[in-house]
């Protein structure tokens, strides 16, 4: 029936289509006013959304940059004191008094112009004591005080002594051209909004004015091996193998960790955190060494070489069996060999972290450090001959046999770690935290197991209780 009258074949449909298909009628004038108002509201809403997204993106980039900088920055040596030879001040006739830790001017002295320098013109004061003019025109002001971030503090006996020393040094300097001393440490001044958590949390967490917040969270970590430090010690059993394959080259590493974390966040910014995690890690390395055929153990179908390699579970003996291309009882010449080792571990980790966080509204930036106890079990160890630099052997028919099976027991390993994190709280009960960090498996020095460091990224979804 429908097909018979399909879309217009019905006379009533035709009538409707012809009569009303192009029907047009002017709407009321008020329609445009409503449309225009709705249109403008839509633009404003869209712009607002765009602005929010843009600022979120900028903030995210900033946080990522800060975290990345903190994470990847190479270790810096502490700045030298300004009496170093670079500054030319080593010619001073009187030794510089070293600021003590309780001396509050320690930072200020380096971050602000020297007392005899004109603040408005940093070069002025320097030029005038270059030895050609009056050596003592620039007396320190009567009550100069010590300039700090918070204007001036009243000079103490110690600071006055320090000032006198500095003035004396400056007067007695024998330097033809002294460049203005650049501040080496900038005094850190946080913007107002970057205040400690205790004062700012109230805006976002107003309904929860408490002295601490507890949370529970689900954590996921992804890590890569950073460095492996093997002990420079002989194998514990003093067994000297025929072939040592200790030259390791890292090919691949991964560690995936999941677990539950819980913590307390105090109002003064301190964070105490713990949890239970389960992780699986895989490390693939290439070991290279040189085989001397004079040590062939068997010379039948396959030539068998005894070798020893280092693993995370200690030194392991193995037999490398190589098939000669042509049956011969004449041992070949010495040759290089490469073995690929893949180790898989399971572990249960219990960390304990102490940290400090600064919160601004919904964002919190924190640094945490702590120790963890890991119960590690070697799950799998596989060895394959990846390369034989000899034309006498057929690589495809090679084989390796471990002299003993891997241990199935858990071993406890202590670790240390540090994290820097940024957390966003979309709601007062919910937080999403992204972190970058590194950890070091800390083993006893007498152990033949390697110390390994990991670089990790972590994301935690937190529920505030």
């Amino acid at each position: 029936m429908e097909d018979h009258y399909k879309n217009g074949n019905n006379p009533m449909d035709d009538m409707l289509s012809k009569g009303l298909g192009d029907y047009a009628q002017a709407p009321g004038d008020e329609a445009w006013a409503a449309i225009n108002a709705g249109r403008k509201a839509g633009i404003a809403s869209s712009n607002r959304r765009f602005l929010i997204l843009r600022w979120a993106a900028i903030l995210l980039l900033f946080c990522s940059a800060v975290l990345a900088a903190m994470y990847w920055r190479p270790i810096q040596h502490e700045p030298e004191e300004y009496s170093s030879s670079q500054d030319g001040i080593q010619h001073s006739k009187s030794p510089l008094k070293q600021p003590t830790s309780k001396d509050s001017t320690e930072l200020v002295l380096e971050s602000t112009p020297l007392p005899y320098q004109d603040e408005s013109d940093p070069g002025k004061g320097v030029e005038s004591f270059n030895g050609t003019n009056d050596p003592r025109p620039h007396q320190a002001p009567e009550k100069p005080g010590i300039p700090t971030r918070d204007r001036y503090i009243k000079p103490t006996r110690e600071t006055e002594d320090a000032q006198e020393d500095l003035s004396e040094i400056a007067i007695n300097m024998d330097i033809p051209n002294v460049q203005p001393i650049e501040p080496k440490w900038k005094s850190v001044s946080f913007p107002k909004w970057f205040a400690p958590m205790s004062s700012t949390t109230e805006s976002f967490l107003a309904p929860h004015k408490r002295t601490f917040h507890t949370y529970a969270g689900f954590s996921y970590q992804d890590a890569r091996l950073g460095k492996v430090n093997y002990q420079k010690l002989p194998p514990p059993d003093a067994h000297q193998p025929d072939h040592e394959l200790y030259n390791e080259r890292l090919v691949h590493s991964s560690r995936n960790t999941m677990g539950v974390s819980m913590g307390v966040q105090l109002a003064n910014g301190l964070i105490l955190e713990t949890g239970v995690y389960q992780s699986t890690s895989t490390v693939t390395q290439i070991h290279t060494g040189r085989f001397d055929p004079k040590n062939i153990q068997k010379l039948d179908d396959k030539h068998e070489y005894d070798a020893q390699i280092r693993t995370a579970g200690g030194y392991r003996d193995c037999q490398v069996k190589l098939k000669p291309k042509q049956p011969s009882h004449n041992p070949p010449k010495p040759f290089d060999v490469a073995l690929e080792k893949e180790e898989t571990f399971n572990s249960i980790d219990i960390p304990l972290n102490l940290g400090y966080g600064l919160q601004y509204d919904r964002w919190m930036f924190s640094a945490r450090a702590g120790a963890d106890l890991s119960l590690i079990k070697q799950k799998d160890l596989s060895l394959t001959v990846s390369e034989v630099n000899s034309e006498d052997y057929d690589l495809s028919l090679s084989d390796i046999e471990l002299s003993a099976p891997i241990s199935a027991s858990f071993k406890s390993v202590w670790g240390m770690h540090g994290w820097v994190s940024a957390e966003y709280r979309p709601a007062s009960y919910l937080g999403v935290q992204a972190s970058l960090g590194s950890s070091l498996e800390w083993r006893k020095s007498t152990s033949n197991q390697p110390q390994r460091s990991w670089r990790a990224a972590e994301i935690i979804v937190k529920w505030y209780l």
């Binding site: 409707l16 289509s17 329609a31 445009w32 449309i35 633009i43």
Partner: protein, 201 residues
């Protein structure tokens, strides 16, 4: 030889200029754009609405959506067709959200006992559009919507069923009932129209 696209000089297209200005939120351009299509679009809204006020509501919400998604127009097909589709989608969504279009329609079947085949004889193509519009607006909402979509927008039952979230069979049966119902309405209007003519005479 076919001219490569990048060598083609774009013709001076006033519609594109208008669109560009609308995309820059030029109020005058938006008003001009609205002026171009408002009458036809309001005519369409009237067909789906129960009265003038509801039609104006559909038109307003439809045009607000048109301006919101104007950046998505890809210059494929006519702009008028695109505007019509957007507004139609908005009003159908609104009808669905009001849950009136899909409500079970109570209509006295005794009034609709005419055979469909008879419709062809009586269909009067000379009916004034205003009268036809009034008859359409008097139909129950479900009938009106399906009759509009099928007879005027030329949608298939499958498309109607998908859009209105009903079965294809329901769409077919409601179309048949809508036709019968419209016929009834037209008869009523004819009687009223005839009586008023007699009174004038």
């Amino acid at each position: 030889m076919r001219t490569p696209n990048f060598l083609k000089i774009p013709p001076n297209n006033p519609e594109k200029d208008l669109l560009d200005r609308c995309l820059k939120h030029d109020e005058r351009a938006c008003f001009e754009f609205y002026g171009r299509y408002k009458d036809k679009m309001f005519g369409m809204c009237l067909r789906y609405a129960v009265d003038h006020n509801e039609a104006q509501e559909f038109l307003q919400e439809g045009f607000i959506e048109v301006f919101r998604v104007l950046k998505n127009y890809r210059n494929e097909g006519s702009l008028e067709g695109w505007v019509r589709r957007v507004i139609l989608n908005v009003l159908l969504q609104k009808l669905r959200s009001q849950k009136r279009a899909n409500d079970p329609i109570q209509y006295d079947d005794d009034l609709l006992n005419h055979q469909l085949e008879d419709e062809a004889d009586d269909a009067d193509s000379t009916i004034e559009p205003q009268v036809l519009m009034k008859c359409i607006q008097n139909l129950p909402e479900g009938y009106r919507t399906i009759l509009n979509l099928y007879a005027i927008e030329k949608w298939t039952h499958k498309e109607i069923a998908e859009k209105m979230d009903i079965g294809i069979g329901t769409s077919k049966s409601q179309l048949n009932r809508a036709r019968k119902c419209l016929r009834k309405e037209l008869e009523k209007e004819k009687q009223v129209y005839g009586r008023s003519l007699q009174e004038r005479e």
